[in-house]
């Protein structure tokens, strides 16, 4: 069964450093998403991406964040200068159509020290 994969599973970085979180969505999916979950809090939407551009972004997704689909398989989230409050589990998701269910990856736990 196809699945969304994410690397790394755990990333530790120092405040102010850049990080890139990587995702490989399900191969025939067209819509891509990033969510995050701070420990003990709700899963929060960050951004959606379709046809090589951002469809929607949340207030959290400021200028420090960017997304890219550099090739036909990867989907990345970059945080330019990490802050302590960026520590969270980051989930990538993809869906075949806009109204279809989203399939989530296992997440990357980002720890900013």
């Amino acid at each position: 069964e196809p699945e969304v994969t994410q690397t790394p599973s755990h990333q530790v970085t120092q405040m102010g450093q850049e990080v890139i979180l990587r995702c490989v969505p399900i191969s025939n999916h067209l819509y891509f998403y990033w969510y995050r979950q701070i420990l003990g809090q709700k899963v929060e939407f960050l951004v959606s991406f379709y046809n090589n551009e951002i469809s929607e972004k949340s207030e959290i997704f400021d200028d420090q964040f960017s997304v890219e689909r550099p090739d036909g398989s990867n989907f990345t989230l970059k945080i330019r200068s990490t802050k302590l409050e960026d520590s969270a589990m980051y989930f990538c998701a993809s869906s075949g159509q806009l109204n279809y269910e989203q399939y989530f990856g296992p997440g990357t736990r980002l720890t900013v020290t």
């Binding site: 969304v4 994410q6 819509y31 998403y33 969510y35 809090q41 709700k42 899963v43 929060e44 939407f45 959606s48 379709y50 469809s55 929607e56 972004k57 949340s58 989930f91 998701a93 869906s95 806009l98 109204n99 269910e101 989203q102 399939y103 989530f104 990856g105 296992p106 997440g107």
Partner: protein
């Protein structure tokens, strides 16, 4: 503001008994509704969805959910719980008019099924 509420942080059920995990939402219009399950160290797994049509929808692993428009609820149910159903359950909503696909999640309910 749009929101999803799961009023119970934890639900405890004996194996073989029916289970209900509650979800209510505050979203204008007719939203699309989803349930996801999360096992330890795993991502969110899709269980079922309501888009339109019959208010009772059936999903994976014997789960079902009932959409109640007047009560703005979408409770998850299963007639006979298994120990293996123990996990974290999330309700999610997408406003029908939202073109970005954003899901709004509840805070999650920990389901514990005891033998």
């Amino acid at each position: 503001a749009q929101s999803v509420a799961q009023p119970e942080d934890q639900v405890n059920v004996a194996e073989g008994n029916p289970l209900t995990v509650k979800c209510t939402y505050s979203v204008s219009g007719n939203p699309y509704l989803f349930w996801y399950v999360q096992y330890p160290n795993r991502g969110l797994q899709f269980l079922l969805k309501y888009i339109t049509g019959d208010n009772l929808v059936k999903g994976s692993y014997g789960f079902e959910a009932e959409f109640n428009k007047s009560q703005t609820s979408f409770h998850l149910k299963k007639p006979s719980a298994l120990v293996s159903d123990s996990a974290l359950y999330f309700c999610a909503v997408r406003p029908y008019y939202n073109q970005g696909g954003k899901l709004i999640f509840g805070q999650g309910t920990e389901l514990s099924v005891k033998p």
